[in-house]
């Protein structure tokens, strides 16, 4: 890539104050460092990834409201976590976290455990319990 070909396709995702470093060749064919504010294909792929996340979070929110999933499912999605990551934070096994996503199981969870989940999501136990009702 030539120096003058280094893309400068800005987008809203970087907040406009963030640039990346590229290596590109100058007129003499020597490699130099060039700063770039973004590139269209990356912007597209990034926007697509976030769209997907937002869609999934919305769908999960609806499922929580419909009583099909527990509030934990919503906050897990919102924090971009998977049952595996969340299990690490609350010190449980993945299968246990998956169980806790069921509303029927969620109702029976002790406050001490809910406290752990709430702390990971940075909310109160009350908020977690009341969510979606």
């Amino acid at each position: 890539m030539k120096q003058e070909e280094v893309p400068q396709d800005g987008n809203g995702l970087t907040g406009g104050k963030f640039s990346q470093l590229f290596y590109a060749v100058n007129k003499e064919g020597e490699y130099v460092q060039v700063s770039s504010i973004g590139w269209e294909p990356e912007n597209v792929a990034m926007a697509q990834a976030w769209d997907e996340i937002h869609q999934k979070t919305e769908a999960t929110l609806q499922a929580v409201k419909d009583g099909k999933l527990s509030p934990i499912a919503y906050f897990m999605e919102k924090e971009l976590m998977t049952p595996e990551i969340l299990a690490g934070y609350v010190g449980k096994f993945q299968w246990q976290v998956k169980r806790h996503l069921k509303p029927s199981v969620f109702k029976t969870l002790p406050d001490t455990l809910l406290q752990k989940y709430a702390a990971v999501f940075k909310i109160s136990v009350q908020e977690l319990k009341q969510f979606g009702r």
Binding site: F18, Q20, L21, A24, W39, E40, P41, E52, I85, L86
Partner: protein, 335 residues
């Protein structure tokens, strides 16, 4: 607390950037491409079994930690690296080192770094940064290789980033050079770096890695629309682009960085041959760019037709063919 006189410089990739800035701090002048080349950072791997959010993984560089380890080993730098179980202990150990005047490399999760643009904050746990001091307010002074300028982070966020869960867990890992070589001969480290890169790209007997891996992925891409459907095909493709282009994970054209390494190596060792191969690799990098450009258009238009995926696969097969030729020539270079 005493602040260390640390020179921040932005780099294209976090790990090679940290190697270069830490080594330079200790008096070993080494550019980022040099660190990347000696550490044999260039790679390709497609990992259909390692799924992130249901999307198969693709990598354009070697696994995290390898560049640092190999570059240190080859240049004769002794490094100390520590992991922790306990958060308080990990933060104390960090404080001790900065109080002694040693900048420290840290492994951390991007998700908990508040200075990153929000859109870039995913649960990626193998990001590298340097902490070199503490402000009067008790914030840590951070030289994050991906950022334009040095920045600060509050202790809580840093602790969270160092102890993020998920694969791979950073476990508070910190590392710093403890002794530097008196003098560096570049020839052997460069030669070893190149040999290893050629081996990785050409000879791993698993079809998922190196130039074979590219062909494997190319064929997969061609079948994405029929195999996983239009929507998922777009997501899978988007991930291939992100891994190729995004900071922290892939980042800014590893092919161009390796070409820059070959060019610098040619000067250092007076081997114009390497520079010619560097120029050739630049053209391969451009092929990859064309691929990303085309793939971006397919993603954007949400064109699920097999034709566009067929064409993308062809483009990647071209990339793999060109890279195979290049690395075969590179493997022939006599030192």
């Amino acid at each position: 607390m005493s602040n260390i006189d640390f020179r921040h410089s932005q780099s294209a990739h976090c790990e090679s950037g940290v190697v270069s800035s830490l080594f330079r701090h200790h008096g070993l002048e080494i550019s980022e491409p040099m660190a990347f080349g000696i550490g044999a950072g260039i790679f390709f791997g497609h990992l259909p079994f390692v799924k992130v959010n249901g999307v198969p993984g693709t990598t354009y560089r070697i696994f995290p930690g390898a560049i640092f380890n190999k570059a240190s080993q080859r240049l004769g730098v002794t490094v100390r690296s520590e992991s922790f179980r306990n958060v308080e202990r990990a933060m104390e150990a960090l404080d001790e080192k900065i109080a002694q005047g040693t900048p420290v490399g840290l492994l951390s999760s991007v998700y908990y770094l508040p200075y990153f643009p929000p859109a870039y904050r995913f649960h990626f746990n193998a990001h590298n940064l340097v902490v070199y001091g503490k402000s009067e307010e008790g914030n840590y002074l951070v030289s994050d290789p991906i950022m334009d300028v040095a920045t600060e982070i509050d202790p809580e966020s840093l602790a969270q980033a160092r102890f993020a869960k998920g694969f791979p867990e950073p476990k508070g890992k910190m590392y710093y050079p403890v002794s530097m070589p008196d003098s560096v001969s570049w020839e052997t480290p460069i030669k070893q770096g190149i040999e290893q890169a050629c081996h990785y790209m050409l000879k791993i007997p698993v079809p998922l890695f190196g130039v074979k891996g590219m062909r494997f992925l190319a064929k997969r891409i061609q079948r994405y629309p029929e195999k996983v459907g239009e929507r998922k095909a777009g997501l899978f493709l988007g991930n291939v682009i992100r891994m190729q282009e995004e900071i922290g994970t892939g980042g800014a054209g590893f092919r161009f960085m390796y070409a820059a390494f070959l060019q610098e190596a040619a000067l250092k060792l007076n081997k114009p041959e390497l520079s010619r191969l560097g120029a050739e690799l630049t053209s391969v990098g451009d092929l990859w760019r064309n691929f990303a450009f085309q793939a971006g258009r397919v993603c954007k238009s949400r064109a699920g037709d097999t034709g566009s995926y067929q064409e993308l696969g062809e483009m990647m097969i071209q990339c793999s063919a060109a890279e195979e030729v290049l690395f075969r020539k590179l493997a022939q270079v006599k030192f």
